[in-house]
């Protein structure tokens, strides 16, 4: 980032420098991320790939401010996450980062509408429910507003989760194997939805995947092996 040229490079959406992370204690301690340097530009779609245990999900959580590194800095949307308190991080996430999980993680006691409204309510939005309903209609679930997660199919649950991630209008969306729990056809629909919304909202999209089809939709693929970033081809095939 020591660029001294006259044209100012746009500020990256995510910038990781020298990130190191170990988890567990004593004999169970595992060195998961090793000296990671990674820049992701605004509006970019990046796929994180690699074998199981290579640290993909952990790296994603570090970018989302859900995990603090032992060393290194994490800058997201211009904010140094290391300087934020636990509560500061929660507020930051609520405003700037949408997260989609493999297992959806909808709240079972809340309807689809309420699930989507939660981040808006947490952010103090007055018309949280109207906006949540709008988001659900955008993902094709206008008819399922008052259904509980248990009454929805896997694909529908993941659509609710995507609507929930997008509802507060975050600049960055991270997704951890969003199609991992879905069949191929439903997974395809979810991929379409994610990338359509990515394009429409001009969000930065980072996703972890084993799915070659999904990785191929990304602008860039970052490969991890044993906690390190391998050379970054511009557009690579997934192993």
């Amino acid at each position: 980032m020591n660029d001294t040229s006259t044209t100012v490079a746009p500020q990256p959406a995510i910038a990781l420098r020298g990130v190191d992370l170990s988890l567990g204690r004593g004999a169970a301690r595992v060195h998961i991320l090793k000296d990671i340097d990674l820049h992701i530009g605004q509006g970019e779609a990046v796929g994180l790939v690699g074998p199981s245990g290579s640290g993909k999900s952990t790296l994603l959580m570090v970018m989302a401010g859900l995990e603090r590194p032992d060393a290194g800095t994490v800058e997201v949307a211009g904010a140094d996450l290391g300087r934020l308190s636990e509560d500061g991080l929660a507020n930051f996430r609520g405003r700037n980062i949408g997260i989609v999980f493999q297992s959806f993680h909808l709240i079972p006691t809340m309807s689809a509408l309420e699930n989507v409204a939660v981040p808006l309510e947490l952010a103090g939005v007055d018309d949280a429910f109207a906006r949540a309903a709008h988001e659900l209609s955008l993902v094709g679930l206008a008819e399922r507003l008052n259904h509980y997660p248990a009454q929805l199919s896997g694909g529908e649950q993941q659509r609710v989760a995507i609507a929930r991630a997008l509802a507060p209008g975050p600049a960055i969306v991270v997704a951890d194997e969003p199609t991992g729990n879905l069949d191929e056809s439903t997974g395809g629909q979810i991929i379409d939805l994610l990338f359509t919304e990515h394009a429409a909202r001009r969000t930065t999209l980072v996703l972890v995947t084993h799915d070659a089809a999904l990785a191929s939709c990304c602008d860039r693929v970052v490969r991890l092996r044993s906690g390190r970033v391998e050379a970054e081809p511009q557009k690579a095939a997934v192993p």
Partner: protein, 857 residues
């Protein structure tokens, strides 16, 4: 197609935690039944006891005038009011006099019964209504006809002597015809607890009985009705104050209608406190259930909490959401408990109102309900804040990664501080609203000590189990591993069972000790008979009579007067603030005596006993604990009013007294000559060296009633039976409240075992898949529960025994004996309960077919 949505601004959300909490609770109350039941039971006990006591006290206050028999009552011992005193009373309003004393009624067939004799004048009753059966006027019923006086009697007397209505009995030298039965005696409570049934006669009949001798133990009550009927209490207080000022030497006890039965009120307050503490124990035991329920709920909700945090909820907000849920659940439990508690006085009044000899005025007592609600909510918070505080730090990583090694960290400082604050608040409530703060403080300290001790025991059991050498038996290995593995049931079982068992042992041992005091200790040491009102002039005749009929028996006869302590070192008794254990000495009149030598059963612990020939100014010997309570030391001064005369005495020495000998002993013993000229009687006890028989007693009672009709003879066994009946009632009430505690403990234990059921099924299925038979698994589980139950039982018996020792020895001032049978029975019951409860849950786990469970893992 898609429209970008503008980023949202940060905003407020005051009601959001409540909205989220309500959404969370949509899943229903499953998993919270133990939580709600525990809080409801405890709150019900506290609200019920408080409301009932308040209803009684209100009833006493409302009926004060009726209970007292007038607006003000002046009571004298031994003597009637002087002409000047009577004139003063009559100048203030309408006066009715009533004399009460203990006497013996003898049937024609020589059977006899102790009666509470009450002689009334023609104005009786000034307030309230006396109900006789057959209904007729009182004057006619009590009138003399052909030398025979009429009487109305408690039906118990007729039953005891097996007499029909219209039968005649002798009282002293008078012949009395029982013409009616007393159904309602409006002022019955004013006299306190009686040992015999009531016999209502006219004043003339009492005078004719020959029982009114100088020094006889008769109380004269003068009830005054103020002219303006329902005038406010200040008028009554003013007359009472004027009487004390104008006639300071009268030595009478004055009560106004606002304070009609202070002793009874005090006893109700004291007993209420005891029952409230038992109720609080139930709440504390239930608190463990609350903690368990909240902990396992939050464990189930880890994923939801992590999701909320991933969506931008702060740890504080998560805490608020779950705190609100806990409070809502506590409110449900508290409401149920309150509803049951406030219904209790109504229920008792409706069901037993007719047979309870107390005026119950059931109503809703907001203060009591607020107190019970506070106890319920504070308890729920005290036990829930710790696990709730941990929810603050549930990591979002729980969503995508199982914990590598579950960390059991302390909650953040603010939650620890909050927990401590609530616990201090709870303890403060218990102490602040206690009748005797010392007892409440000790309760709080022992409750805290018990909790800490139980946690330590659980930790110790787990530590020992984890260090045991690996057994060769798979059953033992499995049982030992289950005791110390992470998430083991050990702390929960030890805590819930230990508390419940400690309480059970406490109540059982107190009960057993009281019974032992009343029964087992008697034959060797206690006298068989008490004799009251032996005239000085009859002393020699009495001794000879006893010697003739009970040769070889030990007779103790001492002079006896009644007197009131009026001042201590110049401070008036009513102005003194005295700790409860000594306050009774200032309440009403006390038996006093004089003696040349140290009474049997006493020893001097400070000062010197006076010489046998001492004839100087009055000296007094005081019982040590009372002297300490009154702040009196050797050389200081005490004034006692006896027969309308104030006697100043110097404290010569202090004595330790063995009250349990049931021999004659007095708090106040004066030097001979202190009451020179004051007429008085003697009391005596007769002790058979070999215990004596009923027929010997009856023969002596008959002979005494013929030769000395004025002497009242009481069989100790009869008197103790009366006291025993009272104590049995009190013990039943305590037992009733304790049942709630035990029920709470069982609920908590059952809840904890049920919560572990899922893990047990999983474990059982895996082990069965790997080849374990059901019998081996059952044996391993039984061994685990047996070990935990046994460790807890040892503690429960020890803690319960210490608590019972404290209550019996310190609070009740009785000797304590550890009774192995009830203590061990309670321990065995607890042990059995743990194993049966544990195995009952495990049996269903063992009967699960592996395949369906494995498919769902």
């Amino acid at each position: 197609m898609s429209t970008a949505v503008a980023p949202v601004p940060r905003g407020r959300g005051g009601m959001l935690p409540l909205r989220l909490a309500l959404r969370e609770l949509r899943g229903g109350l499953r998993g919270f039944l133990v939580f709600i039941a525990c809080i409801a039971l405890g709150v019900m006990a506290i609200a019920g006891v408080g409301s009932f006591a308040r209803s009684l006290i209100d009833g006493l206050a409302r009926e004060g005038r009726v209970i007292l028999g007038g607006d003000i009552a002046f009571s004298l011992i031994h003597r009637e009011a002087s002409a000047a005193e009577r004139a003063f009373l009559e100048s203030k309003g309408k006066v009715s006099s009533v004399a009460t004393m203990r006497a013996v009624a003898r049937a024609p067939d020589e059977r006899s019964a102790l009666v509470e004799l009450k002689a009334v004048d023609r104005f009786y009753p000034l307030s309230g209504t006396l109900a006789l059966e057959p209904a007729r006027d009182l004057a006619g019923t009590l009138a003399e006809r052909d030398g025979v006086f009429g009487a109305a009697a408690d039906p118990i007397l007729l039953a005891r002597l097996d007499l029909p209505l219209g039968a005649r009995v002798s009282v002293g030298t008078a012949t009395i015809e029982i013409r009616a039965v007393v159904n309602v005696e409006p002022d019955k409570l004013a006299g306190g607890v009686g040992f015999g049934p009531r016999l209502l006669v006219s004043e003339e009949a009492l005078r004719a009985s020959g029982l009114l001798q100088p020094g006889s133990l008769v109380r004269w009550h003068y009830r005054l009705q103020l002219p303006r009927g329902d005038a406010d209490d200040r008028a009554a207080d003013a007359v009472a104050a004027e009487a004390q000022a104008k006639l300071p030497e009268a030595g009478w006890e004055v009560r106004t209608r606002a304070n009609a039965s202070p002793q009874l009120e005090r006893n109700i307050e004291r007993f209420t406190q005891f029952l409230t503490l038992v109720g609080l124990s139930a709440l504390l035991v239930g608190g463990v259930g609350v903690a368990n329920a909240v902990k396992s709920y939050l464990e189930r909700k880890r994923e939801v909490i992590a999701t909320m945090k991933a969506l931008g909820a702060t740890g504080g907000r998560v805490f608020a959401v779950y705190l609100l849920q806990t409070l809502l659940l506590a409110a449900v439990g508290t409401s149920l408990g309150l509803a049951a508690g406030l219904a209790l006085p109504f229920l008792i009044a409706a069901t037993f109102g007719a047979i309870i000899p107390l005026p119950i005025a059931p109503s809703v007592h907001v203060g009591e309900l607020v107190l019970a609600t506070s106890y319920g909510l504070f308890t729920a918070l005290a036990f829930a804040l710790w696990p709730l505080g941990r929810a603050h730090d549930v990591p979002v990583s729980a969503l995508y990664r199982d914990a590598v090694a579950p960390e059991r960290r302390w909650p953040r400082g603010r939650y620890v501080a909050l927990t401590v604050g609530v616990i201090v608040g709870l303890a403060g409530l218990a102490v602040m609203f206690a009748y005797e703060r010392r007892i409440a403080l000790i309760f709080v300290a022992s409750a805290a000590g018990t909790f800490v001790a139980l946690r330590l025991i659980a930790a110790l059991v787990m530590a020992v189990a984890s260090r045991l050498p690996r057994s060769r038996s798979m059953i033992v290995r499995l049982a030992v591993a289950n005791i110390h593995r992470p998430g083991a049931l050990t702390p929960t079982i030890v805590l819930s069972l230990g508390l419940g068992l400690a309480l059970l042992v406490t109540v059982t041992l107190i009960d057993g000790n009281l019974r032992r005091q009343l029964n087992a200790a008697l034959p060797e040491r206690a006298p068989s008979l008490y004799f009251l009102d032996i005239q000085q002039s009859d002393g020699v005749r009495f001794d000879a009579l006893v010697e003739r009929h009970a040769p070889g028996a030990k007779l103790d006869r001492v002079p006896m007067l009644r007197g009131r302590i009026v001042s201590v070192n110049g401070t008036r008794a009513e102005d003194m603030r005295v700790p409860p254990q000594a306050a009774w000495a200032l309440q009403g009149d006390r038996g006093i005596t004089y003696a040349a030598a140290i009474p049997e059963g006493s020893r001097v612990v400070a000062g010197e006993w006076w010489p046998a020939t001492y004839a100087g100014p009055p000296l007094v010997s005081l019982e040590k604990r009372i002297a300490d309570g009154l702040g009196l030391r050797v050389g200081e001064r005490l004034t006692v009013n006896v027969l309308g005369r104030n006697i100043d005495a110097t404290v010569a020495n202090l004595r330790a007294v063995d009250w349990q000998s049931l021999g004659i002993n007095f708090v106040l013993v004066f030097s001979p000559g202190s009451f020179a000229g004051a007429p008085h009687t003697s009391i005596a006890t007769l002790t058979h060296p070999s215990g004596g028989t009923a027929s010997e007693d009856v023969a002596l009672i008959k002979a005494a009633s013929v030769a000395l009709p004025g002497v009242t003879v009481v069989r100790v066994k009869d008197a103790l039976e009366a006291v025993g009946g009272l104590i049995a009632n009190l013990v039943s009430a305590v037992r009733g409240a304790s049942v709630l505690c035990i029920l709470s403990a069982i609920l908590v234990l059952g809840g904890a075992l049920a919560a572990s059921h899922r893990n047990r099924v999983y474990e059982a299925v895996i082990l069965k898949t790997l080849g374990a038979t059901r019998r081996r698994l059952l044996a391993a589980y039984a061994l685990e529960y047996l070990t935990l139950g046994a460790a807890t039982a040892v503690f429960g018996v020890a803690a319960g025994s210490i608590a019972a020792w404290f209550v019996v020895a310190d609070v009740m001032n009785l000797g304590f004996v550890w009774l192995p049978a009830p203590a061990l029975a309670a321990a065995a019951a607890a042990l059995l309960l743990t194993v049966v409860f544990g195995l009952a849950g495990t049996l269903t786990a063992l009967s699960q077919k592996p395949a369906p469970v494995l498919r769902n893992l």
